[in-house]
């Protein structure tokens, strides 16, 4: 999956602002349902299952991508 595609899905899943990018802070969107949505999104695309604890450490889109691993993206 391309990074840009992932960010698009992230915007949709967490209902971020449309112009969100790697620098967007997402901590405020990670309430309990937001965390569950994000765990499901990553599981679906990367076959990786993170815990709520892991997701709570995420601050921005960039930090999320680096947690998943930049090498997992096509671009």
């Amino acid at each position: 999956m391309k990074k840009s595609e992932f960010i698009e899905e992230l915007i949709d899943t967490l209902e971020l602002e449309d112009n969100s990018d790697e620098n967007t802070e997402i901590a405020e969107y990670l309430d309990s349902l937001g965390i569950l949505s994000l765990i499901a999104l990553i599981d679906q695309h990367f076959n990786k299952r993170y815990s709520a604890e892991d997701i709570r450490k995420v601050t921005s889109v960039k930090s999320l991508i680096s947690m998943i691993g930049i090498d997992k993206f096509e671009d």
Binding site: D12, E15, D18, L33
Partner: protein
Amino acid sequence: MNKFCSLEDKNIVITGASSGIGRQCAIACSQRGANVALVARNKERLDETFAQLDTGNHVIIEQNITSFDQLESMIETIVEQMGSICGFVHCAGVELTLPFRNMNPEKYRELFDINVISGFEIAKYITKKRNIDEVASLVFISSVMGLVTQPGLIGYSTSKGALISGVRTLAVEVAKKQIRANCISPGYIDTPLLKNIPEEKKQELADKHPLGLGNPEDVANAVVFLLSDQSRWITGSNIIVDGGYSLS
């Protein structure tokens, strides 16, 4: 126009709009000033509903709502044509009377696909930020058979009961976006479907309703109320509109 329960300029999506309760909901919404997106499979009968609407920016959407992969684009099309959505009424549904021993997974699935899953899937796309208005209301037509039952209704009753319990979860999830979600559980309604049953059987059914059989208008009035701003503090509820059927 009477402002109580006004739906003026609200864009409302209605499934099952080609007949019965769905058709009457569409008519009632248009009479209260709403613009209505009529969704169903049968274009000809949708046209008949359309012809009975008061003036407005109404659209006809010919769609099988169990084609789940087409629902997101269906909602996008509606938003493109009408603007953001303020209300959704899930009237589409199928009834099946079959003894428990004759049921099979496929029959359960068919009931759940139409009665439950299609409604919640459409609600999922409608409630996306880009599609929904600032304040909105979702109404799901369940049935009094989701609360009480009769022999032969295991599939139908469980699907309608699932709607009632699912709507409670939906209500708490969407509340922070100022979206409400409620159910209406009608009793037996005097529709063309009932005209096919023998008169004595129909009378027997009517006798079980202290106020007699209902009309589509009785349900549509409750739908209009739940869509309107007058019900702004009601969410996760199930309004029983059954002429007293479930009391005994």
